[in-house]
Amino acid sequence: MPPPIRRIAIDREPTVAPERPIANGLAQAPVTEAVARRRSERPDPATVRERMRVDAVWLAYGENWVVRDVTLPVRQGEVLAMIGASGSGKTTLLRSLNRLTEVTAGGSRAGRITLDGEEIHELEVNDLRRRVSMVFQQPNPFPMSIYDNVAYALAEQRPPRGRRRRRTPQLEAAAEDALRRAGLWDEVAGDLDRSALRLSGGQQQRLCIARALAVKPEVLLMDEPTSALDPLSTLKIEELMEHLAVDFTVVIVTHNLQQAARVSEYTAFMLGDERQVGGLVEFGPTDKIFTHPVDPRTEDYISGRMG
């Protein structure tokens, strides 16, 4: 049960700043064709289906409030980037979208989070997590073979029969499909029985993405998916995200502003630290946030004067 909401004074009302371009902003961040096309063809927000909605959500671990009063739409077929300094509650908010905050002792929530209009607390939690899958900051493959990592995700709660997950043709095809989508198939096809722990960090992360895709989610949550990786692996995963956004709704938390500017259509900027509970400062189309932010705090953060 969520704790009673305790209102916390917001130190500063959001102010409306005059629209002017940021001199050293990321307006010129190179954007690939696919992203540019999606941005230019962006439909009117009113007509796009809202996949998930975060509505006046407050989150706490025990007695400590971590996120205050965030309202955010997550629309179909888009990449939503959440940026902000450490401690601003981005990751916690992301984890609350598939109720992973409940795994941590003392995690609680006030406000509504809906998936296709349904409150996620009213959905069966494992169903929810299959529909809203997640990739973590640290690559976390299971200590088993590459194939088994994906097959485990694919299998229903209980494998059909026998001790081992059977290598049925359907399972193998589905595993191959997931590995292909994650761009890993060509590198591992010859040796699917190898331990997943022997892959490189970037390969492990793509395996984790393959695993998350294997459950055929509707929304894919990514928590700083490239922060533990080298630039080359990062590039591969960013390319991957562009393709993913066609079929899935992607929510990505990132510390890398360039990355947010490159891959996302919408950006949410969150602010908070030890003294101040994290909250949403500004939400809008990525190109607008990065060129004409409304709030001066957003501008400070994006232009590197803060955080």
Binding site: F136, Y152, R211
Partner: protein
């Protein structure tokens, strides 16, 4: 010619720093150092002495026939038979004990580390395991005798015509032996579960897997070597224990079944194990056949040493499997020809 020219001259052998002398150390440090050193060497000597002594004494009296002959009551060592029945007994007791302790121990460990709610109950269970681990096996045995002599447990042992329950059988001894092995299995399983990082569990939850499915398909397979080493340690405890056998197995010379049902009859009946055989045939026991005792002790020692070696193998396998990827790469990189 050209090939030899490309071979770089080996760098000069690094001069090792001279061995540090302890002469400059404070007296207390020197005494401490030598004490540690002496203890270590002394322990090595003792271990070697045990093995060599048992080897010499044991092998001298070891005959192939000892493994296939039933023991017989005789004052002459040449006619007192072999230790087929004790070996059989050791195997049966170990099997019963392990079959009970392994699933129970793993289940307990999983419950404590993965569920453990309410917390007070989990603490109580932990303390209970500690208590069982601390109880001397002879006390467990006496307690077991009390319990298994109760009428309602009569089906586990021999019953007298007047309804009295003997309370001593393979069942009784095996079940109490399970208590001996249980804390070891719980301990190693819990430790291994605690070492599995939370992100592995979260990864599984994030795929829509239930807690139970995560435990069954991710956690347990990944700690299999640790569970195995816990079980092997527990088996070592069971094989080596004498008190429970003496009190709860009846210690008849041969395996004495009850009734005519083949397996059940044996398990309800009495017998002996290698430990009780050694005890009885040692000069301290009734049999007084020291040669047989030495031979049996040697077999027992080999059995336990083999189990220990198995544990070492299993644990070593686990360590290398969990070593950091960076460390592994460095190890590979260091051994490549061009990095030498």
């Amino acid at each position: 010619m050209s090939e030899t020219a490309t071979v770089a001259t080996a760098p000069p052998v690094a001069v090792r720093p001279p061995r540090q002398s302890t002469a400059a150390w404070p007296l207390a440090d020197r005494v401490g150092y030598w004490l540690c050193w002496t203890t270590g060497i002394a322990l090595c000597l003792i271990a070697v002495a045990i093995v060599v002594f048992m080897l010499v004494k044991g092998v001298a009296y070891l005959r192939p026939a000892l493994f296939v002959e039933h023991p017989a009551a005789s004052l002459q060592q040449s006619q007192s038979g072999g230790f087929l029945d004790p070996i059989e007994g050791t195997l049966i007791i170990t099997a019963i004990g392990t079959l009970i302790a392994a699933p129970a121990g793993v289940a307990l460990a999983v419950w404590i580390s993965e569920y453990g709610r309410p917390t007070a109950l989990a603490r109580a269970v932990e303390s209970a395991i500690d208590v069982i681990a601390g109880v001397p096996s002879v006390v467990l045995a006496i307690f077991g005798l009390l319990v298994f002599s109760e009428g309602f447990l009569g089906f586990l042992s021999q019953n007298a015509a007047n309804g009295a329950v003997y309370g001593r059988s393979f069942f009784a001894a095996g079940i109490v032996m399970a208590l001996l092995a249980l804390p070891l299995i719980v301990g190693s399983t819990r430790e291994a579960l605690a070492q599995v990082p939370d992100r592995v569990r979260e990864a599984s939850y994030a795929l829509g897997k239930s807690r139970a499915s995560t435990i069954r398909w991710v956690l347990l397979p990944s700690i299999r070597p640790d569970i195995a080493s816990g079980i092997a340690l527990g088996m070592g405890r069971i094989i080596g224990d004498t008190a429970i056998i003496t009190i709860l197995l009846g210690v008849t010379l041969t395996t004495q079944g009850v009734g005519s049902t083949p397996l059940l009859g044996t398990l309800r009946g009495t017998g002996s194990t290698l430990t009780s055989y050694v005890y009885n045939n040692s000069p301290a026991g009734e049999g007084n056949a020291p040669q047989k005792a030495y031979a049996a002790a040697f077999v027992l020692l080999m059995l336990v040493l083999a189990l220990n070696a198995l544990v070492t193998r299993l644990t070593a396998g686990r360590r290398s499997d969990r070593a950091s990827i960076g460390g592994r790469l460095r190890a590979i990189g260091g051994s490549l020809p061009w990095t030498r």
